[in-house]
């Protein structure tokens, strides 16, 4: 049906190229900047290609900002803990919403989704007080506790859609065989839900990795707990900005999340869209 002729194909590829240029240009430019010596970067006008490119910046970054490795570790660590905390709240509630009909179901689900209306930035002052009360300020918890909270609603929404597709008969027969409720959840439902759990966990991890900046600059002053999005600004000195190294460090810092994404992208793209489209 309606095949493209060669002319249309060329036009489509050109359009895709333009679209992809917009999407990938910043990364390309970051990479190009990371290859150039600092003095060269400040040559005007802009040069596309030059002969003094090298990977020098990629070894310099660890000297200029000695804590860089720690920042990247912190980012991965924070995202992991955030994901685990978030999932421990998401799994039981998503199961509950997927399976049971009970009083207050609709309204409580609505309230959960309503959390999406509030950004962390709006609630910073009371959050600061709260974290101070618990003694969480300037610790990892100052970042992963609020971080997890804002990711819970979306997690419930996505996982609920997935769990609804698991046939109820399996749980029924387990129940008839005398299995306990917790056993059913742990041994019957969760193993079947593994692909869905992966999707929700990866989406949560990516969200947690992507949105560390605000809570990190507001609730944490200690350098040893800083994630990369806050620590990266150490390349901006009082006198000069080490642009080439900042770009190199940025690209190194996105490797962890990029690797996870590339391994699981098939599940992710499919799962996210399927889950979301059900409603």
């Amino acid at each position: 049906m309606g095949r493209f002729n060669i002319f249309q194909k060329i036009l489509l590829y050109i359009a895709i190229a333009v679209f992809m240029t917009f999407i990938l240009l910043p990364f390309f430019e970051m990479f190009m900047a990371s290859l150039r010596p600092l003095e060269h970067l400040f040559r005007s006008p802009y040069q596309f290609w030059s002969d003094d490119m090298s990977l020098q910046a990629y070894s310099d970054i660890w000297v200029t900002v000695p804590m860089l490795g720690r920042y990247i570790f912190n980012s991965v660590f924070l995202a992991t803990v955030t994901t685990m905390l978030c999932m421990s709240f998401v799994i039981p509630s998503a199961y509950s919403y997927a399976r049971f009909s009970f009083k207050g179901k609709r309204i409580s689900l609505g309230l959960f989704l309503g959390v999406n209306m509030f950004a962390g930035a709006v609630l910073l002052i009371p959050l600061y007080k709260l974290l101070r009360t618990f003694g969480f300020l300037n610790t990892y918890a100052a970042m992963f506790v609020p971080g997890a909270a804002f990711l819970v609603p979306t997690g419930i929404w996505l996982l609920k859609a997935y769990l609804e597709k698991i046939p109820i008969e399996l749980e029924e027969s387990a129940y008839i065989d005398g299995a306990s409720r917790m056993y059913i959840l742990r041994r019957v439902v969760l193993p079947l839900a593994v692909p869905g759990l992966i999707v929700v966990a990866v989406a949560t991890f990516i969200g947690a990795y992507a949105q560390q900046f605000l809570f990190a600059i507001t609730f944490n002053q200690k350098r040893e707990f800083m994630p990369l999005p806050a620590g990266i600004f150490e390349f901006i000195g009082y006198q000069t900005v080490k642009w080439n190294q900042m770009m190199a460090a940025s690209l190194v810092g996105i490797i962890p999340v990029l690797v996870i994404f590339l391994f699981l992208q098939k599940y992710l793209v499919e799962g996210l869209t399927k889950g979301a489209l059900k409603q």
Partner: protein
């Protein structure tokens, strides 16, 4: 979910349909967590907005913060700018999202690779993406200014973030860049969900590609467009990192949205009470906007009998 295979009510089905307590027990941890981390702060924000809280204690001052805010000369401008910023950014995301989804849906070689390539702006930490754009917008050394100079469109270096108008539109472009991948992927999924026989029937009747897009694709994916537009509006309205990293709300307030303004007042100036009033305005305006959106949507749905 009811079992239709067994045809009669087993204990489990009765249990599933009636057991409110167990259902709530499963939800309780998440509910309590969110009440603590989101619910309480929200209530506290309302309370703080009626006080003069700062670094040196607080006392109740009634509606004074609100009076001060409504009499502020700058504030209407900030509100207007926020909605304009949101409107512009969300519209562009929707348009680019539809175009992107159409392109990624076309039966071409390399399609699955393109679908992966579109994701990075969404995957990568926002702060890192913004650093990339900071470099692109640089006047002397950035590629945009460089290319425009080569083409003769610019006489000299132009720092996009240094002037009011260009800084404003630059932050919009970056926000669109970050938001487009997700919108594209959702629209793409919606397009794949459109029943193929609709297209075949139209094709047999001799409908052109453009006609099929307008009369089949768009109406079929409309529910997803409408949902995404609302979600995207909420996220864009609440967006903080992009503007903060690119311009910190400058130059001379040209990119100060309500969120940036709230942050500056509350965190940078330590005016917790007055800051809370501004935070509350963000919540109120966003809620009102969403309600109006949903109300209009209902009206439109009724009129066209879309369900």
């Amino acid at each position: 979910m009811k079992s239709k295979i067994l045809g009669h009510n087993t204990n489990w089905q009765k249990f599933v349909r009636s057991h409110t307590l167990y259902a709530w027990l499963l939800i309780a941890p998440a509910a309590l967590f969110l009440i603590l981390i989101v619910g309480w702060p929200l209530v506290e924000t309302v309370r703080l907005s009626f006080t003069d809280a700062g670094l040196g204690g607080e006392k109740y001052i009634g509606w004074q913060n609100f009076e001060k805010l409504f009499n502020s000369r700058k504030y209407p401008g900030i509100v207007g700018r926020t909605f304009y910023w949101m409107f512009l950014s969300v519209s562009l995301k929707m348009i680019l999202g539809i175009i992107g989804a159409l392109l990624l849906n076309a039966k071409l070689k390399g399609r699955s690779a393109f679908r992966v390539m579109v994701m990075p702006p969404w995957i990568v930490p926002m702060a890192i993406g913004c650093i990339g754009w900071l470099w692109l917008y640089n006047g002397h050394f950035g590629i945009i200014s460089g290319v425009l100079m080569h083409l003769g469109l610019l006489d000299g270096p132009f720092s996009f973030l240094a002037y009011k108008t260009s800084a404003f539109y630059s932050t919009v472009v970056t926000d669109v860049w970050i938001g487009t991948p997700m919108v594209t992927i959702f629209f793409l999924a919606a397009m794949q969900g459109v029943p193929q026989d609709l297209y075949e029937a139209a094709y047999v009747d001799g409908a052109s590609r453009w006609y099929r897009f307008r009369r089949i694709t768009i109406p079929q994916i409309m529910p997803v467009i409408v949902t995404m537009a609302l979600l995207s509006s909420i996220w864009t309205f609440n967006s903080f990192e992009i503007i903060w990293i690119l311009t910190e709300g400058g130059p001379r307030g040209a990119t100060t949205t309500m969120i940036i303004d709230t942050y500056k007042m509350a965190i940078a100036n330590y005016k917790f009470g007055y800051g809370a009033t501004r935070a509350l305005m963000v919540v109120i305006l966003l809620t009102v906007f969403s309600l109006i959106y949903l109300l209009l949507l209902n009206k439109v749905n009724e009129k066209f009998k879309i369900k």
